[in-house]
Subunit: 114 residues, 6 copies
Amino acid sequence: MSQVKEFNDYREKMNDKILSADNLVLKRLFNLDTNTYQEGALPVKTKELLGLVASMVLRCDDCIKYHLGKCYECGVSKEEIFETFAVANIVGGTIVIPHTRRAVEYWEELESQV
Amino acid sequence: MSQVKEFNDYREKMNDKILSADNLVLKRLFNLDTNTYQEGALPVKTKELLGLVASMVLRCDDCIKYHLGKCYECGVSKEEIFETFAVANIVGGTIVIPHTRRAVEYWEELESQV
Amino acid sequence: MSQVKEFNDYREKMNDKILSADNLVLKRLFNLDTNTYQEGALPVKTKELLGLVASMVLRCDDCIKYHLGKCYECGVSKEEIFETFAVANIVGGTIVIPHTRRAVEYWEELESQV
Amino acid sequence: MSQVKEFNDYREKMNDKILSADNLVLKRLFNLDTNTYQEGALPVKTKELLGLVASMVLRCDDCIKYHLGKCYECGVSKEEIFETFAVANIVGGTIVIPHTRRAVEYWEELESQV
Amino acid sequence: MSQVKEFNDYREKMNDKILSADNLVLKRLFNLDTNTYQEGALPVKTKELLGLVASMVLRCDDCIKYHLGKCYECGVSKEEIFETFAVANIVGGTIVIPHTRRAVEYWEELESQV
Amino acid sequence: MSQVKEFNDYREKMNDKILSADNLVLKRLFNLDTNTYQEGALPVKTKELLGLVASMVLRCDDCIKYHLGKCYECGVSKEEIFETFAVANIVGGTIVIPHTRRAVEYWEELESQV
């Protein structure tokens, strides 16, 4: 199975379990998370790039995958993605490189999907 | 093999190797780690919840698994676990969500063990 | 001016400015933050200790001060506070010690208030 | 003295000392840092917002001040700044709030400069 | 396939992809990374130990593997490696232990290679 | 008062308070911390450089000051210090630069003491 599908399936399955536990704080946080990236003074595309760079410097592979998927949907170009990777690696240091490797692999999968 | 057994077996095997290397500082730190969670002014259960939330905001899946196991042994309820997850996700942000997904999966395995 | 008053005054003044900027996500997050520490399956006192230990391992002096203040209001004893410091220093390492020094100073101020 | 001037003066003075120490790696890194935020596939403004959000989730007040200054020069609006704060606080959690308070104070100083 | 070969192969394959994307900042950072660990006032061996301890406290398994490989090539002894692990675990806390377990396993593979 | 004296005085005063609270875990951790940097397979000087780089990438100004003081006592040269700064800034990224500025200032004070 492709990494993209595997990531999305697991994410959806477990998010459902978290939400079904009926913890009000977690439910509202999930909601708020969705609102955060909606069109506002800044366009969705910029917000997704902000989410991506934040995920990279905090070094969370799953969050990186999620925002890469969203960036791909928004039509972010490969060159723009790599400039975002550059900011993340300069601010966050070489410790971000291994996550960049996996991000590049995931981005390639997104590009190779029909 | 279940995640719980796999985690515990690897943890025990590698801890033995670390201890057998005879580095005094590491041996004492392991010892101290055990002492930290013993009954004191705060009950063991509270201390394990403290260890869990600290592991979540620092985003260490193995540490989360370890403390989930201990919390389960202490009789922590699912509702209490989710309130601890809520604190971790609010303090630490959505970057903690992927770790929460894996924590929920591990907790379910703990609950399904005979 | 005491550290406690200085901290609370600046916090309140700037929180008001943040809220008055009318960013919906930030307003809701502030709201959610308050809800997180309310009585639930876990008592308020335990939740404040969770907030404290999370703030310590993430090494945020202001967050530590905030939760120390709340812990003090909840009647947490000095011995319980130090056991929480111990968990934070063991999980987070000696990098937490400088924050523990400042936490001890702030706790003393809380105790010395009339 | 205003925070803005104080920050810029100290930054310039100490950067000069670092560069004068003639460590090739540090000199090149400083150079690279400048290149990172130059116009490319992404506009300077977007890159400065990326630098800002990365600095916020990594919780570095000085880096936040630096990028706020650059954002101000680029004509970023207050509403855009607060949407960037919102992303940082959602991804990074309430631990980012104290840095947001100081960021709001610094932004006000930038706005109040003649 | 051994962990060592698997790690090196993936690292090389993906680094090639990153470099071929022709992002100037990333290319220069990779270059600078190599320069950082070259013989200078400090010997290569000390610099690799510095890279190792930094990778451990920042808890990046891939970076740890990379520097373990380099340390092994430099003739670092097992005792020296464990003293470096001790510094990392004391400074960074027990959150570093799971990474130490995996580091010990990788070091054993390095030692068992013909 | 010089930064060096101010740092050492506050550190000593508050460490005494922490130790007098009689929390066994904290007392032993402080002890262990001292043991970690003692002569072993690695010389004290190397261990202090390890402590310094770890403190820099974790971005703790007080820990940086402490290890700079120890490095100075061990006769570490300015060139060696800057090579350690270089490793920290490359691994940890430009987010380490503000801490490097303050480290350079502190190192100058150490050098200017009679």
